[in-house]
């Protein structure tokens, strides 16, 4: 359902998956020895699909985000956009980060126009395109405002608009609402649903929040705790277009419960690990 002034982005021609992650694994060497952060992870994201990856802290979600975004190298397996294997940040993948990432020295429209400025788009054109996306994320009227005067949720919408303005085939988000309160998070989820629908935007969301994953995604990929493997893929058959109203439905509750029963074991394993590591350090400090 594209609206009147939809962006001039060409829809993907091939019907194959927009993004393929093939047997990706990553180990880190630390002072305490090597550990496997992500192990044998394979999945694909269809064009126009909204996929959420969920897992407990320490399951390698962020590692996966950085690998797909091309910010982290030296891993096993491969990541393909369409038919090309990525090596480094790929123009078809737009990233939205967990941390506050707007440029405080640029006003909203210059923040959003940033990727176009880098791409050498003339000023008048890039500001026009930036304004379209500012409107899309619901920030019309704030074009000349600086981030310091915006709320956390508004700043995150600026960051999302800045990523979308480059018209990436795949939108990759790492816990973009983690720093926000629950109500803002639900409302911002609505905004993301609207945008995703308007642009038919292929989206990959990394999150630890179950309701967020069920509210937004077509499929939820549940990961295990260390090493991060895929435990299960849950199809979310909730009707679209969706909004945050869906959180009241019985089906929503059942999905949340099902995913929690998968996650609970992993999360408690993670917490056990973390606590025993802390006990170890504490013991070493008090009885050297």
């Amino acid at each position: 359902m594209r609206n009147g002034h939809a962006v001039p982005s060409s829809p993907p021609i091939d019907d194959g998956p927009a993004l393929r992650v093939e047997r990706v694994a990553k180990r880190f060497e630390t002072v305490e020895g090597a550990f496997v952060a992500v192990d044998e992870v394979s999945f694909s994201v269809r064009a126009g699909e909204f996929l959420a990856v969920i897992g407990p802290s320490g399951c390698g979600k962020s590692t996966l985000f950085n690998i797909i975004g091309g910010l982290l190298g030296e891993y096993d397996g491969r990541v393909c956009v369409g038919s090309t294997v990525i090596s480094g940040p790929h123009p078809s993948i737009g990233m939205v980060f967990q941390e506050e990432s707007t440029f405080p020295w640029r006003n909203v429209e210059d923040n959003v126009a940033f990727p176009l400025e880098i791409g050498g788009v003339p000023k008048a054109e890039r500001l026009g395109r930036a304004r379209h996306f500012i409107e899309l994320v619901g920030l019309s009227g704030f074009e000349r405002t600086y981030p310091a005067e915006l709320s956390g949720g508004m700043r995150q919408r600026v960051a999302i608009a800045r990523t979308l303005v480059a018209e990436p085939r795949i939108l990759l988000m790492d816990e973009p609402f983690a720093a926000l309160d629950e109500q803002t998070r639900l409302l911002l989820g609505d905004k993301v649903l609207q945008i995703q629908q308007a642009l038919a935007q292929t989206t990959l969301l990394i999150t630890h929040n179950i309701t967020e994953a069920v509210q937004l995604a077509d499929r939820v990929l549940v990961m295990t705790y260390r090493p991060g493997r895929i435990k299960r893929i849950v199809d979310i058959d909730l009707p679209r277009p969706r909004s945050s109203d869906v959180v009241g439905s019985d089906a929503f509750g059942r999905y949340v419960a099902a995913i929690w029963s998968d996650l609970r074991e992993e999360a408690s394993r993670g917490i056990r690990d973390d606590e025993s590591a802390r006990r170890h350090t504490a013991a070493a400090r008090h009885h050297p």
Binding site: L71, F103, I118
Partner: protein
């Protein structure tokens, strides 16, 4: 907003009246000879000396000489200081090797090295500018380095995700992110430079306001000396305001 404006006006009134009261008390204490008038001249005498030194001591020319030296020193401090800071950030080994020395230089009383500068540059404006430059350099180098290193990692990652070149990353992200910290260094550096410029003018009895202060002090013209010092403060205020303007122009947020 309106409330804040009113608060600003109130603060300005309190500030100005505090100054007026201090001067008044000083005046009374000096006239009552509680403070020796031959050591501290009364504020009214200092005020009266201003038109005198303007008319008799070629003040405008001296003021301009000192300002000119300060401008040259500022240009050197800014360009060389920022360039050095960038180099220290880029090259880790250079940074580890020299950072402590730069910090030590910041604490060194550079002005006492004036005989060395006299030997190299002669008794000239160059000597004065060079001492001002060396004195003002360390804070700019250190604050540039601090600002660049303090850039939030996520902003750099945003830049990388948009596939910026190294040059673009520096110009579009690192430099603007570091700018407020760099300006802290610049303001300190410019003030250090000015203090040293006037100090050396005084010591080698050459050039602008420093030389005037030296001469007036030797003549034991204390009201004149203090009046001349007021003009040094004026130069410093001028540079401070200029730096602030430039910063706001470069980084409006």
């Amino acid at each position: 907003m309106r409330r804040r404006a009113r608060l600003g006006v109130a603060a300005a009134i309190v500030g100005a009246s505090t100054l007026a009261i201090v001067l008044l008390v000083l005046e009374v204490l000096i006239r009552a000879s509680i403070i020796n008038p031959f050591i501290v001249p009364p504020p009214s005498a200092v005020a009266a000396a201003i038109p005198r030194i303007v008319a008799e001591e070629n003040l405008a020319h001296r003021f301009w000489q000192t300002t000119q030296e300060a401008i040259f020193a500022s240009i050197l401090v800014t360009t060389v200081g920022i360039a050095c800071g960038v180099a220290l950030q880029r090259f880790r080994r250079l940074r580890l090797a020299t950072e402590t020395w730069v910090a030590a230089l910041a604490a060194a009383p550079i002005v006492l090295m004036y005989p060395l500068f006299l030997v190299i540059f002669g008794r000239s404006a160059t000597t004065i500018v060079m001492i001002g430059f060396v004195a003002g350099l360390p804070p700019v180098v250190l604050k540039t380095l601090e600002g660049l290193q303090g850039t939030r990692a996520v902003l750099v990652r945003v830049g990388r995700s948009f596939r910026l070149t190294q040059g673009q990353l520096f110009r579009k992200i690192l430099l603007p992110a570091a700018l407020p910290t760099i300006f802290v260094g610049l303001r300190l550096g410019l003030i250090f430079a000015l203090i040293n410029i006037v100090g050396v003018e005084f010591l080698i009895n050459f050039g602008g306001l420093g030389q005037l202060i030296n001469e007036l002090a030797e003549r034991y013209d204390l009201p004149g000396t203090y009046a001349a010092i007021l003009f040094v403060v004026l130069v410093s205020v001028l540079f401070f305001v200029l730096a602030e303007r430039v910063e706001r122009w470069l980084r409006p947020a």
